[in-house]
Subunit: 479 residues, 2 copies
């Protein structure tokens, strides 16, 4: 074939999950490596997924009253140092700018790893009265964290994200906001990415640097490892005090406001790959798929086939689908493999026989199911199939998570079940002491992922020390 | 009034144009200064203008076949150095990262001032055959240039922009692309920003570092200074040779491809301010105005006023307008001044008397014209007013430019006309020699802005040396 590319097989996920993952990001043309260590070039197909994610999330943020802004990408060292816990957490992984042109800077600048300090400085400038509150801000930007080991999307030195930063008159309002945005994140993961998540609170040792409380949504990947898909932090008035932000309340007294921040990143694309992908490649949830349906003409040299295929494309486009007609000279078999690799939710085949019978073939990516569809039902059938793909992906992911979620009441049981059944979420009781948290991780290999909002009383004792348990915790190995 | 802010007057533009400009960016709440020298915080109202610009431009890029990608923000020094002219042009204004955490980097990294080098590296990885061409890529990112003197939007150390980077099989295709995108830029400025522009080519001395030819659109600001609103560069195969990018053509010979790049930045917001603003504040072109129409209720405590105002808002929202109802307790007079400052194109007033007469008042921001509109014609009248504002702004800007464009046939005449009439575009003939270009700038104060595509033969001699003229050039003082 004229423009045939080799569709070579990817490593099987059972054989080597890490290799399977990097095969997919390359072969599905999501990214390309660069000479900038730990940084990737996001290619059109990968970036289009991110654009769809942005579009949906941004709409949800705006519906909940948030406005977009843009703070500088540099943080002067003295500004970063204003909140003690915060700088301790982030300074070790900052990239530092020390020269502007040929001149050495008087004060070095860190490339933002996150922007709490910049937002605090800004809030100090613009918040003076209770009438100025709340400010519900968000920004879509790039950030840098100097990681030692990196993987595309999952852990890269530069990544894209959104960071919400809000400031409120009262602690109650700020806590509500923290929870609201965690719920927005969970809803987005489940309804747009078809990824089931556990909502919960991070333990003290796992909190964001400078936060009073960190909430997170945790997802289980196909290999049984956990991935933190989004976080929402409640800061109390700690940052306000460190940055001396005060406002005049209705009684004209100067008081400290309360803050939150929350973020989601390009690692969501990694989560999509590792939740839904299989040995044939990516499988994309329809809401964020750059191509929702691909039309593959069969025997396209025969009269009328390409015309009919183009007609179907135009009809589906008009119905609001993101649709592509591949009329290249590659063989249908090559095309099938290509769009399976790229995770296109629905494939539509149309050939001379189909045209004769006034029908086409629809195949859903996640389960390979094939059905004949009458052409006058094209639009509704395609919409139904997209819904079926979303639901199918979600169910499959949920079943995987449930199969790999183990309730344990002792350390021995944790070790045993992980050995026998492989990695997964372990639900186990905990006394709340950091020493036990550390010991559990050391002896079983799984760390605390979160204290889920939906608690269960598996026993009344900490699996580690045997003292009274305070919480049921999800434990797991993490990306 | 409960939540009244002081609407203090801004400096008059005739008194001090620079001060007038910075008053507007602050009072219209477009930006706030930060402790990061030369970098600004873009506030919600300013960022919303940028989002509208992005939305329209991105649509135009996609319609012309471009795809979005995202390259890293860092460029290793050795990569930047690969193209000689390019590094000479940009190295002096690079911000350099020298430390990652506490470790000194083996090779320092520049924060991208522009991304040709990264795109070249990427193209070398993904372009192998004529079948891989063209690649029509764009990215929406932040860049950094270490400027000495900075001004919000116009010249900041960090700014937001889009950079298109394309690679083609032939020089012809690349030249066509360079021109196509310049035309897209001009169309956008005129149809969406209501800013008339001159299209032309930059002189050799004013070319982008590494380009064969640089094209630009130039606009004239209210004070008679020129502003480069967008550039489009043709690279020939210079970068391809420097980066050793080759592809196999149809005859299976390895040949060099041809490249372009083109960009527009947040300085467009500065152009909008300085083209359309007046002593009452901003005046926004409707296509990018965050609020296209504001509804101000009159005597809002009277029965039925707020209900009717809300009804109008809902109708206009349904008609697709970005509309705001200000039902705060501030006085109507305060609101009038506030939304004039913010440049909202159309103000709608509705009070008890209007309701009685089944009408409302519409006032257009750019000329203060007031008219009564029957409520059953609300939607069409609002749409007509928005169109009238766009056309009015464009006409006003065009007239300003024409009034301030002077044809001169000698150096003395240039000096005289600028002295008498103030800054503006000077059209004058030029022999094409850099020495004359420099001398004209030195002696008259105006530099070459561009060699316009629409040439006129003002005389046959260079205004400087008197030798045969090659081009008619637009000269001006530049932002």
């Amino acid at each position: 074939m004229a423009d045939k590319k080799a569709v070579t097989a990817i490593t099987s996920m059972d054989e080597d999950f890490a290799k399977w993952y990097t095969d997919i990001v390359k072969k599905a043309e999501l990214i390309e490596y660069t000479s900038v260590k730990g940084c990737m070039a996001i290619r059109p197909y990968g970036y289009a997924i991110w654009e769809n994610i942005q579009h949906i999330l941004d709409g949800m943020f705006k519906e909940t009253g948030h406005e977009n802004v843009c703070m500088p990408m540099f943080i002067p060292e003295s500004l970063l140092e204003k909140e003690k816990d915060h700088v301790e957490g982030f300074a070790p992984e900052c990239a530092w700018v020390t020269y502007g042109g040929s001149e050495k800077l008087e004060e070095r600048l860190c490339v933002r790893p996150t922007s709490e300090t910049l937002f605090c400085e800004h809030y100090k400038n613009v918040v003076h009265s209770y009438r100025d509150l709340p400010k519900l801000y968000n920004q879509w930007v790039n950030v840098v964290r100097w990681e030692k080991t990196t993987r595309p999307f999952l852990r890269s030195r530069e990544f894209l994200w959104q960071e919400g930063h809000t400031i409120h008159a009262t602690a109650e309002e700020a806590v509500e906001e923290t929870e609201r945005m965690l719920n927005v994140y969970a809803q987005f993961c489940e309804e747009s990415l078809a990824i089931p998540v556990v909502k919960g609170r991070k333990t003290e040792s796992d909190k964001f640097a400078g936060a009073v409380a960190t909430y997170a949504i945790e997802a289980l990947m196909h290999d049984g490892k956990a991935l933190q898909a989004g976080t929402s932090h409640y800061f109390g008035d700690g940052f306000a005090k460190a940055f001396d932000i005060q406002y005049a309340n209705k009684d004209n007294q100067l008081v400290y406001p309360h803050q939150t921040s929350w973020g989601m990143t390009t690692r969501l694309i990694g989560a999509i790959i590792m939740t839904h992908g299989d040995d044939n490649g990516l499988a994309l949830p329809p809401a964020v798929a750059p191509i929702q349906a691909v039309i593959v003409p069969i025997a396209q040299h025969k009269e009328g086939v390409l015309e009919k295929a183009a007609e179907l494309r135009d009809r589906l486009k008009k119905a609001g689908l993101r649709v592509k007609l591949d009329d290249s000279e590659n063989s249908p078999g090559w095309k099938f493999a290509e769009y399976e690799m790229k995770g296109v939710p629905v494939r539509i085949e149309i050939g001379p026989k189909d045209i004769e019978n006034d029908q086409c073939v629809m195949v859903t990516r996640h389960n390979g199911e094939k059905s004949f569809v009458k052409l006058d039902e094209l639009e509704t059938a395609a919409a139904d199939k997209l819904k079926a793909v979303h639901d199918g992906l979600y169910q499959k992911a949920l079943e995987n998570r449930e199969r790999r979620t183990y309730s344990c009441t002792s350390m021995d049981e944790i070790v045993k079940v992980l050995n026998e059944k492989g990695d997964g979420f372990v639900k186990a009781m905990w006394c709340g002491e950091e020493a036990c948290e550390d010991e559990i991780k050391e002896k079983t290999g799984v760390g605390s992922r979160c204290i889920p909002f939906e608690q269960e009383q598996l026993s009344d004792k900490c699996v580690c020390c045997g003292k009274p348990a305070k919480h049921m915790v999800y434990w797991g190995k993490a990306y």
